[in-house]
């Protein structure tokens, strides 16, 4: 009886909206020793969060444990009555959610929520709980530990909230903490700090942990052992170093391969004479709010950004959330007219406002949005969605239209039969392909890709990148590829522009990323990307002054 957690033959079923029963966890067994951190890794839908939540005796609505046992400290948790289970939550096992921003109640102060566990379970007097919370804030390297609890959740940053939610999980002195993708929503530079803070408190208190993530590199920094899941089944279990360096199961290898996408091969071609660039952006200033005198918007999001994109080449735009990279795409597309500056497409100036551009100008620049879920009309069939730009831009109909839709589906490597379905019946990767096909339907020369792989699993995202490369070879497209993920950008772009706080800091060759010549912020950004190396986090040394200068947290 040495293991803290013992899960045996766990099976969980879920009821779908249509009343069908689906097995989402099949025969899963594993142990967690005291003080050990075990990672559950897999793509979305692999059941990793569901398994983690069963350790708290909780299944989300519609899910049910049908078989198996979940023992916490020798006690069968799934057999306990709800009140007994509730009494363990927060005291024996606690939870750090994926999105702390959504998991803090906006109506209450942070401190009240952090110490709520002690109040619910009558652990200690309020004063003592507050002191303990401040202690934890300090341990998690939060700024102003004495007063940060008096604020409301919307008054602190995402990275801080994530650490505050760890404090919330630790206040009841649990034996096991469940981290559910706790850094997925964070920027890389923030992620480093949060991971460090988590790691140090967990090691100090010798607390056991379950770390749920899809990111192998992150998990490699914090976990002792890794469990690889797919479709609710365990594929491989092993020590972190073994999984990372000597993966046995083919699926694990696939995950590792997707982490390092195939390097970009520059397109060889007779590019002898220098051509006029496809897109030139000159000193663009854009933002929201009223445009005052001196043509300056009241809230400036993009400040004097300039770049050139040669025909048939790809430019990556990277930066953290809020740096203005998506806004830049919207400005080029004309959705948000620029307040100042000039956009030249094929040497001709484009009107900043989309409504004043000609239909042909609109056709040549297409945008693909991050979330295919919201970009595709759920009420229309795939054929309708793809037919719309074909009719709008090319005015074709009848047989020709049908044939073009089929052709587009072929181009994005989807079966033609999908044309009769609606977006809700497709997987995330398929939806993103449709999203891309819609841009291709216009016969665009330039496609603005706004974080198009960010919502996808690594393996699926890597396939989309491959598709983009193939399409580029066939159709001589250019991409403006916006992403926060450096490895994806490296996989497809010829040049990379780094943005910070609305300004373009520098433009460089992706192979030279992190090289000596880079700007300090770029260096910080590149260095913060987790590597598939268990010692990366511990050996990473960051200049605190640099971190201070470039953190707007």
């Amino acid at each position: 009886m040495s293991n803290l957690v013992e899960v045996r033959n766990l099976r969980v079923n879920a009821k779908t909206d249509s009343g069908r029963t689906v097995e989402i966890i099949r025969n899963v067994s594993f142990d967690i020793a005291e003080g050990e951190i075990v990672a559950l890794i897999g793509e979305s839908g692999s059941g990793k969060t569901t398994i983690a939540l069963t350790l708290m005796g909780y299944t989300r609505s519609g899910c049910r444990i049908v078989e198996g046992s979940v023992k916490l400290a020798g006690q069968e948790i799934s057999a306990l009555p709800e009140r007994k289970r509730a009494s363990k939550r927060g005291t024996e096992v606690s939870y750090v959610p994926q999105s702390a921003a959504a998991s803090f109640n906006p109506a209450h102060r942070i401190m009240d929520q952090v110490i709520e566990v002690t109040k619910i379970h009558h652990l200690m007097p309020i004063e003592q709980a507050r002191e303990k919370a401040v202690e934890l804030f300090r341990g998690l390297a939060l700024p102003d530990p004495d007063t940060i609890g008096d604020r409301y959740p919307h008054q602190v940053s995402g990275g801080q909230l994530q650490r505050l939610s760890a404090a919330m999980a630790l206040i009841g002195d649990p034996k096991l903490v469940i981290f559910d993708e706790p850094t997925t929503a964070l920027d890389v530079t923030t992620q480093v700090e949060v991971l460090r803070a988590f790691k140090s408190v967990m090691k100090k208190g010798a607390i056991a942990g379950v770390y749920v993530s899809h990111d192998l590199a992150v998990v490699a920094q914090i976990a002792d052992r890794i469990i690889v899941l797919k479709n609710g089944e365990i594929q491989e279990v092993g020590l972190t170093t073994d999984i990372v360096q000597r993966p046995q199961h083919p699926y694990t290898r696939e995950l590792l391969d997707a982490f390092e996408p195939a390097p970009r091969v520059p397109i060889a071609g007779g590019r002898n004479e220098p051509e006029a660039p496809l897109l030139v952006v000159k000193d663009i200033v854009a933002g929201y709010g009223k445009i005052g005198n001196a043509r300056m918007p009241s809230l400036r999001v993009i400040n004097k950004v300039s770049f050139e994109l040669p025909r048939g080449k790809n430019l990556g735009i990277i930066g953290e959330s809020g740096c203005g990279k998506s806004t830049l795409a919207r400005v080029i597309a004309g959705i948000l007219p620029a307040a100042q500056g000039q956009i030249l497409f094929e040497g001709k100036p484009l009107d900043p406002d989309l409504r004043k551009r000609s239909r042909n100008e609109l056709r040549e620049i297409q945008i693909v949005f991050q979330s295919a879920d919201t970009a595709l009309n759920p009420a229309k069939s795939i054929a309708d969605i793809l037919a719309r730009p074909l009719i709008f831009y090319h005015g074709i109909g009848g047989k020709q239209l049908e044939a073009r839709v089929d052709h587009l589906l072929d181009m994005v490597r989807l079966p033609r039969a999908l044309r009769y379905r609606r977006p809700g019946e497709l997987s995330g990767g398929q939806k993103q392909r449709i999203n891309l096909a819609r841009a291709l339907a216009a016969d665009a020369k330039l496609i603005l890709c706004d974080e198009i792989t960010s919502a996808l699993d690594t393996v699926v995202g890597a396939a989309i990148i491959e598709l983009l490369k193939e399409l580029q070879r066939e159709l001589s497209l250019s991409y403006l590829f916006i992403s926060h993920d450096l490895s994806t950008v490296r996989a497809i772009c010829d040049e990379v522009a780094v943005m910070y706080a609305g300004e373009k800091i520098e433009q460089l060759n992706p192979d030279a990323m992190g090289g000596e010549a880079s700007h300090p912020y770029s260096r910080l950004l590149f260095a913060s990307v987790p590597k598939l190396d268990t010692g990366w986090l511990d050996s990473l040394e960051q200049d605190p002054a640099l971190l201070q200068a470039y953190s707007r947290r």
Binding site: L53, M56, Y58, R60, A86, S87, K88, R89, G90, T91, S94, Y95, P97, S99, A102, S103, F104, N105, P106, A107, H108, E116, V117, I120, H121, Y152, H154, M168
Partner: protein, 316 residues
């Protein structure tokens, strides 16, 4: 950040005021467009043209409509509602007693229906999917679908005719004892409560359900909170805005929309006064009643908006 709250509140008040002005404009010119000449109607068929012309001058009817609108508006703001065309009594006096009656009825209905409706809505949300929830839902849907004259008529048949417990008519003016008050109010209040509660039950249930599905309520559950704590402490404060709005909307119905109930029970309220004014073409009375309904509605909606603004922690 409190200046932000003040600014938003001030903005709401200004919008309410502008709406009121717009409604006044609409009411005035809508009644203006009614066919027929007031002076001719008042004097009857036997009137001489001279008499009609004299009356028109006396009533300022020969002046441009817009000017008369300004006069009327100015008088409204100074509290002078004008004189009834029909019985020459000041409208303020006519309305005064009736408004008090209507407010009494609305007040009693609100005091009874709001707590019951909110309690039913919130508990239905907590026990979502149970038999209790279904019973409450079926009840509210059936109440919404049954027209109020039906509810009122059935109430009269059951309580006044068949059981003989309550009088069929509500003579609020003759009430002297508490028992008498209960008797006079019972049936109109029951009927109105049915009508206004249904909306509040549905809206509060939906608002609480929505917040119960948020990650922060799941987080509270994973902190070991009881069902009760999850709802009262975590869900309810965030559902307050929509609930208050639903309550305000329902209550606003109690002043303007009670014509049927007041008529069936012959209750001397303001809605019935307006109905009578329409049948006698008493334009100033119609206009004043309409303005009062609009004012009450705006007042309730603005209060609801202010509560929603103040209860939003992001603005504090």
């Amino acid at each position: 950040m409190n200046s932000l709250i003040l600014r938003l509140a001030a903005k709401r008040l200004v919008i309410a005021f502008l709406t009121l002005l717009f409604v006044a404009f609409t009411i005035f010119f809508a009644t203006e467009m009614l066919p027929g000449d007031v002076a001719e109607v008042l004097l009857g068929q036997a009137a001489t043209p001279e008499a009609v012309a004299g009356l028109r001058t006396a009533m300022n009817l020969d002046q441009p409509a817009f000017l008369r609108f300004i006069y009327w508006l100015g008088e409204l703001f100074t509290g002078d509602f004008g004189v009834s065309y029909v019985n020459k009594l000041p409208i303020a006096d006519l309305i005064g007693g009736r408004l008090a009656n209507s407010l009494k009825l609305a007040g009693v209905t609100a005091v009874i229906s709001v707590p019951i409706a909110l309690a039913l809505g919130i508990t239905a949300a907590i026990k979502r999917g149970t038999l209790y929830d279904r019973i409450v839902s079926i009840f509210t849907i059936s109440v919404i679908s049954v027209p109020e004259f039906m509810v009122a008529t059935i109430a009269v048949i059951v309580f006044a005719v068949y059981l003989g417990w309550l009088p069929a008519l509500s003579m609020a003016n003759e009430v002297t004892s508490i028992g008498g008050l209960l008797k006079a109010f019972a049936m109109p209040v029951i009927t109105l409560s049915f009508v206004v509660s249904a909306q509040m039950i549905r809206m509060s249930r939906a608002a609480v359900l929505e917040t119960l599905n948020t990650p922060y309520v799941e987080m509270a559950l994973l902190k070991g909170a009881s069902r009760r704590r999850m709802v009262l402490r975590h869900a309810l404060p965030n559902a307050l805005g929509p609930i208050v709005n639903a309550v305000a909307l329902s209550l606003s119905y109690l002043l303007g929309g009670v014509i049927i109930v007041e008529t069936i029970f012959n209750y001397p309220g303001i809605a019935k006064l307006m109905l009578d004014a329409v049948s006698t073409r008493d334009l100033p009375l119609i206009q004043s009643c309409a303005m009062i309904f609009c004012l009450a509605y705006l007042l309730l909606i603005t209060i609801a908006d202010l509560v929603a603004i103040i209860s939003n922690p992001r603005l504090q």
